[in-house]
């Protein structure tokens, strides 16, 4: 086994071993202290093990791991966020009796989140995808209140639905491939010949679209992101959600153009991009605002993939991954900023607010930030026609939404328990929510540059061309103008409940209750003795006739 393979395995095995340790009650209490170290092997893997593979013999584990460029970008950046958020989690958990339980959910989600970036076979991918999706439920409902429970229910329902779609897609993929291969590369490469090609692509888009929160499956995002504790929501919104992104990268057949599904994905993506902004600006809770921003940003990524799918352009895999990597740091960071803001209070808000403003506006494409690079990386993919223009306009929307977020951030109330009486000692300085926030903010600015220059092969000159600068500045100006309009007339906006279209499901509820009540009545009737007896006779006759019909 080469060092690279070893690292690949370790990036999953290390947090898994920590999880095993959680079986002991004593060890479980100490788990929070190790949380920041758990993703370290994954980070090392991303840095040093590019191109490595690891395969166990087919039986019994049939585990195959592989690290390609998009996977490495996402893995490394996500690991970075997990490390920093782990530090924040330590602060959050200090003195809590249920810290061990939190750590178990955290580590399980972590394994899945890291794993999806490197899994190379269908069952492993499905397993790791399930882990990152379902284990996050424990994080969502960690603070047990009626509203977090509701958020948890919605979250799990959609996660399970998405997995059902994916399971079907994976079965179709595997069945369509000769010798029922289970390797992702084989099955996706073969997709063009599959008799169920369109159905499969549709299911893949549905399954991963739910994970990415594309409209109308976005409803879980505002609920769950508002419900989960700050460190948890940072990793969920930053890292965990990218399971959907890597899923699309891995499973959509970018080799061969399929314009129908590509267009559909573009439409859904663009709609999500604007919809997220439109609903986001009506929200007051900064966590909710960020959640809608995620809906919008994932929409942009989906649009990129849609363009790639319709033109058969493999390049979008790397571009999309880069865009997503930027989003990992920024979105994770901004959630940490909310925690930091709540801990320092409005008097000393500027060390939080200033970096927040820089990286938040980066989402809108502020020149020189990672956001501008991300926009640059996908600019050619989006093209210069209608989609390109709409993409640029969505940046205007993002600017607007981020300015709105910064406004809301200033109004975050101080959480009493977050205020530490003596913040002099070095330890509490590190553990206080400000330090991780500043670290991730710094990373959000630097890391995209490093990636842009090294992995994407871009140059500083490209990024600083006047045209590139102008094309990122004008949407921001529009966004700024819209924001001042919002400041003025914002109070006229309707109050949209969190989870927006979820209210329409209120109408579905009685119907489904009636339906299941009908099942119960049917069961009641069928289970009466004479009815069951008659059923038995009818079946006997039916079987007799059926065998007779086969002569």
């Amino acid at each position: 086994m080469t060092g690279g393979s070893l690292l690949l395995v370790l990036s999953l095995a290390f947090p898994l071993v920590l999880l095993l340790g959680a079986l002991s009650r004593d060890l479980r209490q100490h788990l929070p202290r190790i949380l920041p170290y758990a993703p370290v092997p994954a980070l090392a893997t991303a840095l040093f093990a590019s191109g490595a593979t690891f395969a166990l013999p087919d039986w019994p584990l049939r585990l195959t791991l592989e690290l390609d460029a998009p996977g490495a970008i996402l893995l490394g950046v996500a690991a970075l966020l997990w490390i920093v958020a782990g530090v924040a989690a330590q602060g959050y958990l200090r003195g809590r009796s249920d810290a061990g339980r939190f750590s178990v959910w955290w580590l399980t989600t972590l394994v899945g989140s890291m794993g999806v970036f490197i899994a190379a076979d269908l069952p492993s991918f499905y397993l790791l995808f399930s882990m990152v999706s379902l284990a996050a439920y424990g994080l969502v409902v960690f603070d047990d209140t009626p509203s977090t429970r509701r958020a948890g229910r919605v979250y799990v329902a959609l996660a399970v639905l998405g997995e059902a779609f994916l399971l079907l897609a994976f079965v179709l993929l595997s069945t369509a491939t000769a010798d029922n291969s289970l390797m992702i590369r084989d099955v996706v490469g073969n997709l063009a010949q599959s008799p169920w090609r369109d159905l499969t692509i549709g299911l893949i888009i549905l399954g991963f679209g739910i994970k990415m929160g594309l409209v109308p499956f976005h409803v879980w995002m505002p609920l769950a992101y508002t419900a989960a504790p700050i460190p948890a929501v940072a990793v969920m919104s930053g890292a965990a959600v990218k399971a959907g992104v890597i899923g699309m990268i891995r499973f959509l057949p970018f080799d061969s153009a399929s314009s129908g599904w590509g267009t559909a994905l573009v439409v859904v993506g663009l709609f999500s991009a604007f919809y997220g902004v439109a609903i986001g600006i009506t929200q007051k809770n900064p966590k909710t605002v960020l959640a809608y921003s995620s809906v919008s940003q994932m929409g942009v990524i989906a649009t990129v993939f849609g363009m790639g799918l319709s033109s058969g352009d493999r390049g979008v895999m790397l571009g999309g991954a880069f865009y997503a990597a930027h989003h990992i740091l920024v979105k994770g960071g901004l959630f940490l900023a909310i925690g930091a803001a709540a801990s320092v209070g409005s008097r000393r808000l500027w060390p939080v607010l200033l970096p927040a403003a820089i990286i938040a506006l980066g989402i809108g494409g502020l020149p020189l930030t990672g956001g501008a690079l991300a926009k640059l990386a996908v600019k050619d993919t989006l093209g210069y026609g209608l989609v390109g223009t709409l993409g640029a306009l969505s940046a205007a929307g993002s600017t607007l939404l981020m300015l709105h977020f910064l406004t809301c951030l200033q109004a975050v109330p101080i959480e009493p328990k977050m205020v530490r009486p003596s913040s002099r000692s070095a330890l509490s300085m590190v553990l206080s929510p400000v330090a991780p926030w500043l670290a991730i903010a710094l990373a959000a600015i630097l890391v995209p540059w490093v990636l842009y220059l090294s992995v994407l092969g871009g140059s500083v000159a490209d990024a600083l061309k006047p045209y590139a600068l102008w094309s990122s500045i004008w949407p921001m100006l529009i966004g700024g103008a819209l924001w001042s309009a919002l400041q003025r007339w914002g109070n006229r906006l309707p109050l949209v409940p969190r989870g927006d279209i979820l209210v329409f499901f209120g109408a579905v509820k009685p119907a489904s209750a009636r339906c299941s009540a009908a099942f119960e009545q049917a069961d009641d009737y069928l289970r009466r003795w004479p009815v069951a007896g008659l059923s038995l006779l009818i079946l006997a006759v039916a079987f007799g006739i059926a065998t007779f019909a086969l002569r």
């Binding site: 004479p530 007896g533 038995l536």
Partner: protein, 110 residues
Amino acid sequence: MNAATLFGLCGAVLVGLGLYGIIVHHEPIRKILAFNLLGGGVFVLFGIIARRGAAAGFGGDPVPQALVITGIVVAFSASAVAVTLVMRLFEVNEAARREARSGHSAEDAG
């Protein structure tokens, strides 16, 4: 029509009757009765099969005859368990009813 066919048809009718009884009767004890009617019909069918297989100087094929003997014993065991269950259920319900009644009368008295 020979005796075997005649009794065979008789067995077929008994099966129908027994099934009907098991299904439509409400009282468990009547279901048990019908179950035994049904069983009788099935055993008669075994009997005519034995009769038709008469050979080697025997009046019937001994294998189905032996199967019926085993079957009758199993059916009896089943009836015994079922009847005991019915009686036990009856007693438990009776006891509960008595208790409820005495509870009521105590309340009335109080």
